[in-house]
């Protein structure tokens, strides 16, 4: 039993890493390892966009993240990196007088300090 934290810096559409990350996470859980949490940073924050509409015959990264969250894995999103990419929580949207928002639970708006904590509590950090 080892503890893993994952750092996701790949966007779901324009980078390669997300399918790999999700398969890695599933394999780690299947082998009874623990996932301390997943941190989304940089282009990786696009994963938290709740409005993604992928053709039904293709892999659905957003649903796959939700499935991991349903198993108790925390999904933390760097709020600064997300905001400049147009991914806002309801709180932030309200501050901007926007009725729309696209960062919803189980994704959590967090700061970089959360990544440091996830790193410090893990045996291995793997970046995708």
């Amino acid at each position: 039993m080892a503890r893993f934290s994952l750092l996701i810096t790949s966007s779901p559409v324009d980078d390669q890493g997300v399918v790999t990350a999700i398969n890695f996470a599933r394999a780690a859980l299947a082998a009874n390892h623990q996932l301390c949490g997943i941190f989304f940073y940089g282009p990786g924050t696009h994963n938290a966009n709740s409005l993604q509409l992928v053709p039904t015959d293709e892999f659905q990264p957003y649903s796959a993240w939700l499935e991991l969250a349903a198993q108790g894995i925390p999904l933390h999103v760097c709020v600064t990196a997300a905001a400049r990419r147009g991914i806002l929580s309801e709180t932030e949207a309200n501050e901007q007088d926007s009725v729309s928002y696209n960062l919803t639970p189980p994704f959590q708006a967090s700061g970089l300090g959360q990544f440091i904590e996830l790193m410090n509590s893990a045996d291995r950090v793997v970046q995708f």
């Binding site: 390669q16 790999t20 394999a27 780690a28 950090v125 793997v126 970046q127």
Partner: protein
């Protein structure tokens, strides 16, 4: 000992940076576009043990495999990250 996870193809600067950063005894795992590497591309093998994610090779239609490269699945990928002290993703 580092497990270097290479995601880019041999023509990229990323590939050269990864190559420049590998020490004797490190591991090299090819995933995503990294699987386009074959040992003819570079002389990685004297330095590092080389692995490749089978699913990513299959997706890209790659059939010829040089004998120095060990094919692995996701379960083995997880184990591999624990055999080395840390990982770095290129």
């Amino acid at each position: 000992m580092i497990l270097h996870i290479l995601t880019e193809s041999p023509g990229t600067d990323t590939f050269r940076q990864c190559f420049a950063s590998i020490s004797q005894g490190d591991g090299l795992l090819l995933i995503q576009n990294g699987v386009y590497m074959n040992t003819e591309h570079q002389m990685f093998s004297p330095v590092a043990k080389i692995f490749a994610l089978a699913a990513d090779r299959q997706a890209r239609g790659l059939t010829d495999l040089s004998p120095e490269i060990n094919l692995i699945d996701y379960a083995e990928f997880v184990e591999l990250t624990l055999k080395y002290d840390k990982t770095v993703t290129w």
